[in-house]
Amino acid sequence: MNPQVRPAIIAFLALSVLTGVTYPLVLGGLAWMAFPDQAGGSLIRKNGRVVGSMLIGQDFTDPGDFWGRPSATAGPDAKPLPYNGANSGGSNLSPGNPDLRQAVEARVVALQAADSEQRGPIPMDLVTASGSGLDPHISLEAAGYQVHRVAKARGLSQTQVQALVRRQTERPQLGFLGDGRVNVLKLNLALDAIQGK
């Protein structure tokens, strides 16, 4: 037998114990001590009930809510199930694919029908599916585009809603990493809060 066989097998077993069991358990312990909320999935509670994760988007469709991005995730039966947090993924449609063009056109029509007075150009992120299918954020432009619809449906002034969007805006990290964005679930929770819901 090749003399390297025994070291290879033992090294694999030793690493399995050290890096496959000990390391994740130590990490898990430290993580739970230092960052219990984040380690648990950044869950959001309302009236003691878990209503979602801060990092996972939800499928909002009411005119009075801000809407998130289209999601291409599927359910266990392979049928579309937007924001399925147990089966992440994107559409994988190429930019030249006619299916993508059709999907985007349908989303444009739906957005324009939901607010016929909003005539501005539609932000790209509102009509394209995210890479994870779970994107919790929309761009500042996408939030601005929806202010009129949400304010009208909720009976609030546009200034009130705009102020709320500004308060919920997350700036680029350290001033320049990534893009400015708004967390849709948190924004809708904040809207509920000012109306005492």
Partner: protein, 569 residues
């Protein structure tokens, strides 16, 4: 669209941090493998000795290239066999998530593909973690392989450096097992723990629990996959493996929650392979030669950033006019914006690490082409841990051979003659990628079993998806254009073959070349030596890398990305 200043600042800061980290990383790597790892060695030294006792090896005993190659291959084989067994018994294992959530059946071909994939550091994933694997398998299986593949790759890199660095004629390339275990204990394990803690602080989930069924804000139901993701997310980048916890990998908000986690993850991919160029310079006592390798890598990396940025910044012409201008966001995440998406695309496609922060399947034709070209270069722009330096030095051997032909001088690199034997090994190394990718792609597009994988897109894109898949596997990268459904016996077996050739085929040649070089006495520097630290040589090396890849792959790049781009106009 012009480059926004903030985008440019993110790229520039990244490159500056890599430059600043190269010297300390290179020095620390040298210390781990030639001396004393300092504080960590005092803490973990007894554990290291105990592991050698169990293995029955003497860490001081030198190994020749054949022993090294056996050790490298058997370590990979042990990992693959262990993971295959674990996957096949997964259904009998306890622990979350519940069997009802695991909807992807663990067939033998998927298990074989996955075992080969993780043991070779490719981490091509024909499955989605949250619908396929138990947490116990993610930890004991996937996390372990991350350290194993990363550590053995690093040990290969060190043996290769010693081949160039030896002064006298020797067979001794160091002790593979010592390099491997020391690399894991004193480098990968502490860094992985540290990085994972930062990730959790930013929001990466680290929970040992079942999927969570909840009622969202407006009613209905939502199922959330949670799990010990942070443990894998840190080592997947440090070990340049790339296979993530969730199906969406680096795009998943619970895996890569903020721009900062993305930025740090990309640094984790790049800093150690970049540092190895300095380790090489120090151990060969020719720091200028190390810096020239670094410079060529940085140039390739920077060109990739520019190319991908330009390709992805453009608004797709096919979209309706009512949509505002701006980059195509299909398959991309809002929090990363264009810059972090591009940075991740370039770092992962050049770094033998498939952990992209977006779906390459929805990239523009030329954007996908940039990723593909980076992989076809053979992962040399910093590259995989250990393997990136090997790839660049192989190209350097070819470059000095070409240079020698041009100026009529006998080729040598750092005082080691490059004779017919050395050149032959380097050429065969360079041919593995084109042979593997082109032959397998030809088989796939001409058989029904291969074409059955096309599930999303029409036209030349399908051809790109096929070439992308085999390039990714042969380069041990692992990223995929998801428009190809690759979980079938045909795809699972052919991609596994590409991964094996790309890992063990290239490694055997690398060990053989290291052996050939170490058995030469190193000749002192003279007026007749090749100036391998000069910009002139850097230019020659750069063009060698580009031309070797270009000549092999120009036809497929024209038939895939270029044809698709032209058909969209």
């Amino acid at each position: 669209m012009p480059m926004a200043p903030l985008d440019f600042a993110q790229y520039a800061l990244f490159l500056i941090l890599v430059l600043l980290a190269t010297v300390p990383a290179g020095r620390y790597l040298e210390r781990i493998f030639t001396g004393d790892a300092g504080f960590l060695e005092r803490v973990l030294g007894p554990l290291e000795k105990r592991i050698y006792q169990f293995m029955g090896v003497d860490p001081k005993a030198g190994m020749g290239w054949k022993e090294q190659a056996w050790a490298f291959s058997l370590a990979g084989l042990a990992g693959a066999a262990g993971l295959f067994a674990l996957l096949m018994v997964q259904q009998f294992l306890p622990g979350p998530p519940s069997a009802k959530f695991l909807s992807t059946p663990m067939t033998w071909d998927l298990a074989l593909n996955t075992a080969v994939s993780f043991a070779t550091g490719t981490t091509w994933q024909a499955y989605s973690g949250e619908t396929t694997l138990r947490h116990a398998v993610q930890m004991v299986g996937m996390v372990t392989q991350g350290f194993l593949a990363g550590g053995t790759g690093l040990a290969l890199g060190m043996a290769f450096i010693r081949g160039f660095a030896s002064r006298k004629e020797t067979q001794d390339l160091g002790n593979f097992w010592s390099d491997f275990i020391r690399g894991v204990l004193y480098l990968l394990l502490p860094l992985a723990l540290l990085l994972a803690l930062v990730l959790v602080g930013q929001g990466t989930v680290m929970a040992f629990r079942d999927h969570l069924a909840l009622t969202p804000l407006r009613g209905g139901s939502q199922l959330l996959a949670l799990g010990p993701a942070a443990a894998l997310e840190s080592i997947k980048n440090l070990g340049t493996n790339g296979g993530g916890f969730f199906g969406a990998n680096g795009a998943h908000p619970l895996a890569n929650p903020t721009p900062l986690t993305n930025f740090l993850g990309m640094l984790a991919i790049v800093v150690l392979p970049a540092g190895l160029t300095h380790t090489f310079g120090r151990m060969t006592r020719r720091r200028d030669a190390g810096w020239m390798l670094f410079a060529v890598m940085t140039l390739l990396f920077t060109l990739g950033l520019g190319g991908l940025h330009l390709a992805e910044a453009a608004r797709p012409s096919a979209l309706p006019l009512a949509v505002a201008s701006g980059p195509n966001l299909e398959g991309k995440e809002v929090r990363f914006g264009l810059a972090q998406t591009v940075l991740a695309g370039v770092a992962t496609s050049n770094g033998a690490c498939g952990s992209s922060a977006a779906q390459p399947g929805s990239f523009s034709p030329l954007g996908g082409g940039v990723l593909l070209f980076n992989m076809l270069l053979g992962e040399v722009a910093y590259g995989g841990l250990g393997t990136g330096l090997v790839g660049m030095l192989m190209a350097a051997v070819i470059a000095v051979f070409l240079g020698g032909l041009m100026i009529g001088r006998s080729p040598e690199y750092l005082g080691k003659a490059v004779r017919a034997k050395e050149v032959r090994l380097a050429i065969v190394y360079a041919l593995i990628m084109p042979l593997t990718v082109l032959v397998l792609a030809a088989v796939a597009v001409s058989t029904g079993a291969g074409r059955a994988g096309f599930s999303s897109n029409p036209g030349p894109r399908q051809f790109t998806e096929v070439v992308f898949a085999y390039a990714s596997c042969a380069a041990n990268n692992g990223q995929a254009m998801g428009g190809l459904s690759a979980n079938s016996p045909f795809w699972n077996l052919t991609t596994a073959l590409a991964m094996l050739l790309g890992r063990f085929g290239t490694a055997a040649l690398a060990f053989a070349l290291a052996g050939a070089l170490s058995s030469q006495r190193r000749r002192p520097r003279s007026a007749g030596s090749m100036p391998v630290g000069s910009p002139l040589f850097g230019g020659l090396l750069f063009f060698t890398v580009i031309v070797v890849t270009g000549l092999s792959f120009l036809p497929v790049l024209v038939l895939g990305p270029v044809a698709e781009c032209l058909s969209m106009r």
